[in-house]
Amino acid sequence: MVSLTINGRIVKAKDGEMLLAVLRREKIDVPAMCHHAAVEPFGACRLCVVEITRAEWKGWCDYVTSCLYPVSPGLIVNTHSDKVNELRRTILDLFLARHPDCPEIAELAGEYGVFKTTYETVVGGNNCILCGLCTRICDRMGFTAISTVGRGHGKEVAPPLRQAPPDCVGCLACAENCPTKFIEYKLRKKRVTIWEREFELLTCTKCGKTTITKDFAEYLSRHRAIDAGYFEICDECRRKNLAVSMGEIVNWERELLT
């Protein structure tokens, strides 16, 4: 356990824990667009930046991204100093110039009082903020079907060679975790299309509703030691099944006792 000061309040945290996790626990609102608990911190959006100092720094302070800054005893944190707010506003302002039609950005920018960009609007922009969540999550799942290509201002997320990615299993994790809903997919009755690939969806043998893609189920049963039969029913029906069997068990126990 270490103790640190956040916005004038003494707070306890685990040694080496990332500062953002502590802020979240303490319900201190700090924006963070490239962070997700499932993947390693990345430090790309820079919105989670905070001002830190220490008694021995004699007034000198530093700006660090809280998502990947490990806490240590005696740390003094200010999550909304003037400079920090200005930096967040600048980032959101830059985002507005790059993604003029993105509602998620507009909303967050609005919270920080930025309604119109100071800068030149980027032509041909899109809504991908290059937070890297999609690629990192895909990578984490073990597929690495998509990645960022290029560098600098022209960087973008794409499958290898910009062709339908052979390693994609249609799990939709990229799209579901995209903070700006940039990655599109089409869900039809028994099929889903993402990254220009079409996948067959499994149907629940009990209720007939579609569940996950066949490729995804195969992958999970092969690599995560989950029995293939597990995917034959949907989560909803599984819960129902379980409730029913729980009832039976309780009944059975009662019978046994009497």
Binding site: G43, R46, T90, R151
Partner: protein
């Protein structure tokens, strides 16, 4: 032959020196990057052929050396005859025979090939007496240009690997680190971090494995110091690395070489093999039981790969993108192990420090900035080339004494140091001593040692725009302040250069720059606004001229200039021939006319006019 003791190394040295003494003369043909581009290889080949034919008494072809960069690239191809240092410039293949007949066989000089001092007009025979060399102080580049490029025996004959022998047998790791610390050696790759302190931290971290990496990525446009060393004196880098490895307790090293330097890869590889064959690298070095191996890692062709965390990812086979380093790479570097990363020139200084002692080294240079620094001096300066000066030498001395002043005696305007994210310093800073701290204080930085001299025909807004454009391309694109911020800074400088900006845009530039500096993840973004900040600091008037008067004083920014044909026009029709948009019309012998509506301001007419009849305003 493997050397299994330091005694055997000394014996080998004596043998090499004796062999060298058999030749009465040495012919050094510079085969550095500049001279090669000017045709040096053909000259070296010609020397070999003719020398073989002529069979001169007391001279064998072995005394013909293809060396690394001698420095004075501007005058290349260079040929030096030692002893005596007879220095031939701009040598052509047809001069070779004459040089051999007069300067190798006899002791005469070929007068017309000597360097002529532009001030006194006198020819100078000995290179060491030429201003360009006389004001230099060579430590890291000591052997460069004096020995054959890839010849370990030449290196050993000149005292090479003696420092390694001393380190391995007479010093402990701690002693070496203390020595390097006392010498005050600071990293030559940019940030100027104390090398000894870095080595100490690495050694003190608990770990089973440690790595030593040499940064040979050299991405600054126009810079070639590290390239020259890697190609021309690779053993000095290896020796420095082996000493570092022994000091910190590492058994595995890498040299990360920029993609665009194939010859450096070849020469380093050769040098590694030569050192391994002699038992100076590999298992049980010089019979001391210490083992260290070096592998070459090819760069990924991006400027940002020179940044330490990106470099280490790239060496490990991942995408070279920086990561945040709240834990420094010296503690958690390659494969998460403690890693010493130093620049090529930093390592090249190490053998000299061990050999001659920390106190000797510490006396050279300036306070807290000991030793020397190599620069590639380029731009509008007369003597371009590779130089090394004591830290604290003034910009004036470098540009005017060594560099010989501005081409065509035009006025000096600015000097850019520190690579793409460095800064531009004006006339008023000419007496600034060149060292890490002074440059940073003046708003520029040392960087890895590029130095670009600019004359009055350079527009500082255009310069800022150029470097920002480079950085926008080279940013890895990971973090927002750098990717989007530098992009917008670039757009803003374009706005100024096109005369569309307001004074408010200048304060936007200043504010955004500050945010990019504090908000960016790695050094590229953190130093990225330097070009625009330093030019705004020292050349504010020029920015204001673009904004208030819609005028580019240097006559560079296309949108703000017009070309006119003056009555001096002789009607030669040269400009009519080069104008792609047919904006110029006229008859032979009559003053031509230029249609402003059709002019795209490409400047072709200005460049081609022999009669100064095209005016830029």
């Amino acid at each position: 032959m493997r050397l299994s003791s330091t005694g055997q190394l000394t014996q080998l040295r004596t043998k090499c020196q004796a062999a060298a003494k058999k030749h009465k003369k040495k012919v050094l043909v510079c085969c550095g990057p500049g001279c090669l581009a000017a045709g040096a290889q053909k000259i070296a080949d010609r020397f070999r052929t003719v020398l073989k034919q002529k069979r001169i008494a007391g001279f064998s072809v072995q005394a013909l050396k293809e060396t690394g960069c001698h420095g004075f690239c501007e005058q290349g191809p260079l040929v030096v005859i030692e002893p005596g240092g007879t220095f031939y410039t701009k040598v052509k293949t047809r001069d070779v025979e004459e040089i051999i007949d007069r300067s190798v066989r006899k002791d005469e000089v070929v007068q017309r090939l000597l360097y002529k001092d532009p001030r006194s007009g006198k020819s100078i025979r000995d290179w060491a007496k030429i201003d360009f060399y006389a004001h230099q102080n060579r430590i890291a580049l000591q052997k460069l240009g004096q020995i054959a490029q890839c010849d370990i025996e030449d290196y050993i004959a000149g005292g090479g690997y003696a420092a390694l022998a001393k380190a391995l047998t007479k010093m402990t790791g701690d002693r070496i680190i203390d020595e390097v610390t006392t010498s005050g050696l600071r990293g030559r790759g940019g940030a100027g971090f104390a090398a000894g302190r870095k080595w100490r931290t690495c050694k003190d971290v608990q770990s089973d494995t440690r790595y030593v990496i040499c940064n040979g990525d050299e991405g600054d446009p126009g810079a070639f110091m590290d390239r020259a060393i890697m190609e021309g004196d690779p053993h000095s880098v290896l020796e420095g690395m082996i000493i570092a490895a022994f000091a910190v307790g590492s058994s595995e090293g890498y040299i990360y070489v920029r993609e665009e330097y194939p010859l450096a890869v070849v020469n380093l590889q050769k040098a590694i093999e030569q050192a391994e064959a002699l038992g100076l690298l590999g298992n049980d070095i010089l019979g001391t039981g210490f083992s260290f191996s070096i592998k070459i890692s090819r760069g990924a062709g991006a400027f940002v790969c020179g940044e330490s965390s990106a470099l280490m990812k790239s060496v490990a086979g991942q995408v070279g993108e920086p990561r945040a380093k709240y834990i420094r790479s010296v503690i958690k570097g390659l494969h998460d192990r403690p890693t010493v990363l130093n620049n090529v020139e930093t390592f090249a200084n190490v053998p000299v420090i061990i050999d001659r002692g920390a106190d000797w080294f510490a006396k050279i240079g300036a306070k807290n900035n000991s030793g020397t620094k190599a620069f590639s001096l380029v731009g509008k300066v007369r003597n371009t080339g590779l130089i090394e000066v004591a830290m604290g030498t003034t910009l004036r001395k470098i540009i005017f004494d060594i560099g010989g002043g501005i081409i065509g005696d035009r006025p000096f305007k600015a000097v850019q140091t520190g690579g793409p994210s460095g800064g531009c310093l004006p006339q008023s800073q000419l007496d600034l001593p060149v060292d890490f701290d002074s440059l940073t204080k003046a708003g520029s930085m040392m960087g890895s040692g590029g130095m670009i001299v600019m004359d009055d025909k350079t527009c500082m807004v255009d310069v800022a725009k150029y470097f920002l454009g480079f950085l926008v391309e080279e940013s890895c694109g990971k973090c927002v302040p750098c990717r989007e911020g530098l992009y917008q800074l670039h757009r803003l400088t374009i706005k100024v250069s096109e005369g569309r900006a307001t004074e408010e845009d200048l304060s936007t530039i200043e504010k955004l720059s500050e945010m990019v500096i504090i908000g960016s993840l790695c050094g590229l973004g953190k130093s990225g606004p330097n070009p625009v900040l330093s030019t705004m600091k020292y050349f504010k008037d020029e920015y204001l001229a673009h904004i208030r008067d819609k005028r580019c004083p240097a006559g560079v920014c296309r949108e703000l200039i017009t070309y006119e044909i003056t009555p001096d026009c002789t009607g030669c029709m040269a400009c009519i021939a080069v104008c792609a948009t047919h904006a110029i019309t006229g008859k032979k012998g009559k003053v031509h006319t230029l249609d402003q509506a059709k002019c795209t301001k490409c400047g072709a007419c200005y460049a081609v006019c022999q009669h100064d009849a095209v005016l830029v305003s």
